[in-house]
Amino acid sequence: MNSTLENANPLIYERIDRRQFTGTELDDEIDDDFDPREVYDHIRNIKDPEHPLTLEELNVVSESNVHVDEENNLIEVHFTPTIDRCSMATLIGLSIKVKLMRCLPPRFKIDVKISKGSHSTEDAINKQLNDKERVAAALENPSLLQVINMCLKDSI
């Protein structure tokens, strides 16, 4: 993997500050809604499969590309691969999906898609990420699951 990096010198973006919790959010007695920032915090520290950098530092994910519809239990995340031919795009999307499936209540429908126009095969990748049966089968593959878990390590 090291000898032929697809994107050897990616642009590195600044990390956002730690979230400041409000009084009501720290109060376990109060039910507060999920907001995009809370969802974003779950995914911003996922590691890129190629670089020792986070998806936030590579600008693959951003808070403005996270949409939460609490009433209908919908969460939509758009991510932007660093280059438009990135062969890791499906793996990155899968990592985001797995992280959110593990962290959020099961009532949420999680849609992970490539930002419009940012990848040469975005329709094919979106279709694959959206196919729950194929995602379920992929996650039963031990070697793939190991790669995903490596990306998710330390992402909290």
Binding site: R107, K109, K127, N130, D131, E133, A137
Partner: protein
């Protein structure tokens, strides 16, 4: 119209992928990512449905689908582990009598022909396999149909004629039959705009219903071996539609979707279909499969990602 919950079946430890009634209408089978098949029966004293039998250790991975033979003595199950198991009822006990291997990877569906002599399987390797029963406990692969260009999601034998319908991630439905000693595709329906998740024939076999990731249900009609779309039912689901079931007794169609809802349609005039009822929140997660009871026309079974199977009373 009444759409009441009659029974909630708990026991599976993971998402439930499929439910299917035995032809007698007295046993419901369900299969799950927990690698078990459960058989549910109504107890004699209190009418409640409960787990009567667990068929386990037949597969290494998710059991994706199941199908009863017409005589009810065999249950076939297919798995992401690339094998199909045949379970046989021997004086009340269920044993795995056979394991069919051949597919490269995940098998998505299995279907018995009405005669019980043929079995079809399909999967992610884009193929449909036709298995022929040579002897009681021996199957041989009679053909591998390679018509689809992607993952084949579902297969269904015609209720009367010796042909098979399959649907796929390639957005098409295809019909295959035996021509000159080999099985091949002779017609393709390509109106759906995304993955076709499921298909079902009506009792006489002159209609087919299909459902898709494009959030529509389509009704197809056969005239002299040619299938045409006579109705597109859209706007009733807002997430992918994972299953459809055409009741052999009441002629009603039910669809189940990723929006947790079930919709029931009726043919109110020839070739004209209307929604009778849309039931929301039937499960707390995606509804993966539904099945009309073949004897008691009011009973509909469903199952979902919430790990539950449910039986509904619809009148």
């Amino acid at each position: 119209m009444i759409f009441d919950l009659s029974s909630t079946l708990t026991g599976h430890k993971d998402r439930v992928w499929a439910v299917k009634w035995r032809h007698c209408g007295k046993i419901l089978a369900s299969c799950s990512s927990d690698k078990d098949i459960r058989l549910w029966k109504q107890s004699q004293n209190d009418d409640n449905w409960s787990c009567d039998y667990v068929l386990s250790e037949g597969h290494q991975r998710t059991i994706r689908n199941i199908d009863w033979s017409d005589d009810g003595n065999y249950l076939a199950a297919c798995s992401f582990d690339a094998t199909t198991s045949i379970w046989e009822n021997k004086s009340g006990k269920w044993d795995c009598s056979l394991n069919l291997e051949g597919h490269e990877n995940e098998i998505k569906c299995v279907s018995w022909s009405p005669s019980g002599k043929l079995l079809a399987t399909c999967g992610r390797d884009k193929t449909v396999w036709i298995w022929e029963r040579i002897e009681e406990n021996e199957f041989e692969c009679a053909s591998v149909i390679t018509a689809h260009s992607q993952d084949v999601k579902r297969i269904k034998w015609h209720p009367k004629e010796p042909f098979i319908a399959s649907c796929s991630y390639d957005n098409t439905i295809r019909f295959s039959k035996e021509i000159n000693d080999d099985w091949s595709c002779y017609q393709t329906l390509d109106l759906h705009e995304s993955t076709v998740w499921a298909i079902d024939f009506n009792a006489t076999g002159d209609r087919l219903v299909s459902c898709s990731d494009d959030k529509t249900v389509r009704i197809w009609k056969a005239a002299e071996d040619k299938w045409t779309c006579i109705a597109t039912l859209s706007g009733y689901h807002n997430r992918p539609i994972y299953d459809v079931s055409w009741s052999p007794t009441s002629n009603l169609i039910a669809s189940a979707a990723g929006d947790n809802s079930i919709v029931i349609y009726k043919e109110t005039q020839p070739d004209f279909f209307e929604v009778l009822i849309r039931k929301e929140k039937t499960h707390t997660c995606d509804v993966n499969s539904i099945s009309w009871n073949p004897v008691k026309s009011n009973l509909l079974a469903s199952c979902g990602d919430d790990g539950l199977a449910k039986i509904w009373d619809i009148k």
